[in-house]
Symmetry: C2
Subunit: 243 residues, 2 copies
DNA sequence: GGCAGAAGCTGCTTCAGGTTAGCCTTGGTG
DNA sequence: CACCAAGGCTAACCTGAAGCAGCTTCTGCC
């Protein structure tokens, strides 16, 4: 695939206008292609000198295990997303990452990344921006779990996922394909799988949205946005911020 | 104050060895000093073209308001911390920031920041590292609220705060000065103030720690670490990672 | 010195969400 | 084709934390 058509380049280009030098530096970073099967961790908590990845296709979830066997999913990585940036900067991974669909990803070695930053600071700024955007999502999830009810936070999360997928052309207002199980949803939202099931049933019975058969379908988008107090602006912006 | 003695420089220097050029660029960023009184927001959600700040002294809390008047505190900024980096990158603040003690901070204008990044990529990398470290803390908080009990997460948070303060010389194993009220603690941990009060009483009655009179005192540090499942490593590292 | 406001503290009641325990469907596999 | 493992679904019961209401400091201030 041409680097310029990759979801990653599309995402960064939304933030900075990249020069041909930037794109060249990105190609260096973006070469070692790997396929990863479902169900085996790509990154382990505590692992040293871990590579980072840029996701080309598929879904990955980043999570932390707790003693007692429970886990908290922190974020999902979708096509175009960076995985494990923090692990590279800290030299030790602080979480696990598990593909939940078959994944194609490019390995990014720490040296390549740091060299690219030194050679082309605009790229560094763009990556910083992308990282910030992901953090904004983690923050939103924190607010959800801390202060929203189970129904509100479920609705909020499904809207957010939709917004992210729309950015890479994988969703529209009517809904999107979603490979998540109710168990994954539960571990994301800090709920039990049983309770998630109750919540999804209620959302369905009130004609708000359907989570079924690997697909999320919005029956009444506006009502869901209102219920979740979803801020439409927080993922959007109006084009490159740096020229 | 000499730039090299600032808590900010000390923090960054723990990650990269900064050259004199880096320090020069940092001085440009780090000049407009401001004093901010307690109780008036420094940053408002939705505000455009907001400056960022580097905290020289005092405590700030970043929070999000929800309809219904509840709020979730997302993070605290302590001396040496960056405040509002995301607001600069996105050109719109996505949260509020409130000083909880009198604060001295240096204003950082978006141009200065981006110029400094272009001139000295090492500085950009260092700032990326610092931002990642803060995000790691938000993540830890997410895990706490999602999957830990009220007691565990309270203990965990107070340990984490201690670890951060130790980094800038404001805490030791016996405890630290802490200007937080039980209300702030509640809004951080996703609990009610009433319940926080009960939890703190239990921690006190079991001779684990005392949160009283603007001070946190650990009575049995090891037991608190065990209770909270606190990962001692996740804030530590062994010196500059980039040379 | 008395008042106001913030912070801390406690008991009682209520409820959101967890736990346990099954059942049903689907799809993969020896 | 029978078995079994995931995932989905539901009901009955339990509990941790919230909500409410009211009390006690402590501090600053007119």
């Amino acid at each position: 695939m041409d680097i310029q058509d990759s979801p990653f380049a599309r995402k960064l280009a939304a933030f900075v206008q990249l020069s041909s030098a930037d794109i060249g530096a990105m190609s260096d970073v973006y070469k070692r292609r790997r396929k990863v099967p479902v169900g085996r961790d790509m990154v382990y908590q505590g692992q040293k000198d871990q590579a980072a990845y840029i996701i080309a296709s598929g879904w990955v979830c980043s999570y932390k295990m707790l003693p007692g066997g429970t886990r908290q999913i922190v974020d999902f990585q979708l096509p175009g997303d960076f995985l494990g940036l923090r692990s590279v900067l800290f030299r030790t991974a602080d979480h696990n990452a598990l593909p939940i669909t078959p994944v194609e990803a490019s390995e990014v070695l720490p040296e390549d990344l740091l060299n690219a930053f030194t050679a082309t600071p605009r790229l560094a700024t763009a990556v910083l921006w992308a990282a910030s955007r992901d953090e904004a999502m983690v923050v939103e999830n924190l607010v959800s779990i801390g202060r929203r009810t189970a129904t509100e936070r479920t609705a909020h999360f499904l809207l957010e996922l939709g917004a992210r997928l729309k950015l890479v052309g994988l969703a529209d207002k009517t809904g999107y394909k979603c490979p998540l199980s109710q168990y994954l949803l539960a571990d994301t939202l800090g709920l039990s799988a049983v309770h998630i099931n109750r919540v999804l049933r209620e959302l369905r019975e009130e004609n708000l949205l359907i989570f079924q058969g690997g697909r999320v379908t919005f029956l009444n988008f506006e009502a869901v946005v209102a219920l979740a107090d979803f801020d439409r602006a927080y993922l959007d912006h109006d084009g490159p911020l740096l020229r």
